[in-house]
Subunit: 149 residues, 2 copies
DNA sequence: TTCATATTGTAGCCAAAACTACATTTTGAC
DNA sequence: GTCAAAATGTAGTTTTGGCTACAATATGAA
C-alpha cells in the first residue's frame, strides 16, 4: 500500500497527468475515423472527380453499409453532404479538415521515411499514427525535416 | 467516371493496398486499449505492489465500472487474472505483452524527444502513437537512436 | 424499351467502451 | 465488535463502428 522506498522504481506519472494523457488519446481516437473518411473523400474527389459510397467502402475495406452509416455521421458532424446516387461532397469545414489531415499525413510519412522506414511501412503506419500527432509534435517534425534537407 | 488524364493528379494507392492499410490500422486500434491496460497494470504492480481496479480507473481517467468491465475483457483474452478485492495480476501472456509494450512506448518517446518534441508532448502523443508502430518501424527507430547516440 | 446488374439504402444484429445509478462486500477507525 | 466509508461489483443505457440480408433505385447493354 505504501511506497516501498521510492528509490529505484518505475516512474509512474502523477495520476492527474496520466489521466489527462489517456483522455487526450481517447478523444483523438474518436475523431480518427472521421479524419480518414474526409481525407479519402478529398482524394477521390480530386483523383476521380467523384466519391461514391461503394468506392469509399472498397478503399477502406469495409462493407458499403458501414460506409453509408459513417457518411451519415459525417453529415451529422457537418463535414460532408450527400444526395442519393450523386456521391459524397465535403462542406467547407470538411475541406478544411481534409487539408489539415492531408498535410499531417504527408509530414508523418516523410518523417518516417527520413528515419529509415520503408515506403510501404511508412504509409501503413502513418495511417494510424497521424491521428495522434499533436500540433506541437507536428511543428517539431517540420523543423526536423527542414534541418536535414 | 473515367480518369481524366492520370498525369498530374493525386496519388491514390491501389484499392487493395489501401484497404489492407486501413484494415491493419483498425486491427491495431482494437488492441490498443488492451495494451494500455496491461502496461499500466505492470507499472502499478512494480511501482505500488498491487493494481487495484480503482487505481487503474483513476489513472486512465475512466469510471471504475468501465475499468472493471475492461479488466473482464482482459481476463477473457487470457491476459490478466483477478480475484474480487485482491487486485489484478497479469498472466504469463500478459507479462510478455506488457514487456513488449513497455519497450515500444519507451522507444517511441525517445524518438520523439530526439526529433525535438518536448518531454510532456512526447509522453502524451506516444500514448496514442505507440499502438500503430509496426515491428519494421520499431527497428528503424532503434537504428536511428543508436546511430545518433 | 426492357431488364439485368450495379449501386444505394434500410433493417436488424453484435461487441466494445463509455456512462450513471444502485447493490454488495471489505476494511479500518473507533 | 460495530459500522461508516471505500472498494468492488452489477444492471441498464448510449454511441460507435462493424457485419449480413434484403429492398429499392439507377444505369447501361442489348
Ligand atoms: Mn489514418
Ligand atoms: Mn491518412
Ligand atoms: Mn497507449
Ligand atoms: Mn503506453
Amino acid at each position: 500500500m505504501h511506497p516501498v522506498g521510492k528509490g529505484l522504481m518505475a516512474k509512474l506519472p502523477a495520476e492527474g497527468t496520466q489521466a489527462r494523457r489517456f483522455g487526450k488519446t481517447r478523444s483523438a481516437q474518436s475523431t480518427a475515423l472521421h479524419e480518414d473518411y474526409v481525407e479519402l473523400i478529398a482524394d477521390l474527389l480530386e483523383g476521380e472527380g467523384e466519391a461514391r459510397p461503394t468506392d469509399i467502402a472498397r478503399r477502406l475495406g469495409v462493407s458499403h453499409a458501414t460506409a453509408i452509416k459513417s457518411i451519415a455521421r459525417l453529415k451529422r458532424a457537418g463535414l460532408a453532404t450527400a444526395r442519393p446516387y450523386r456521391g459524397v461532397f465535403l462542406t467547407e469545414k470538411g475541406r478544411a479538415l481534409a487539408e489539415r489531415v492531408r498535410l499531417r499525413h504527408r509530414l508523418v510519412v516523410d518523417v518516417l521515411r527520413a528515419l529509415g522506414v520503408s515506403s510501404e511501412a511508412a504509409e501503413a503506419d502513418a495511417e494510424g499514427i497521424e491521428h495522434y500527432v499533436s500540433e506541437h509534435t507536428l511543428k517539431a517534425f517540420a523543423q526536423f525535416l527542414k534541418s536535414r534537407a
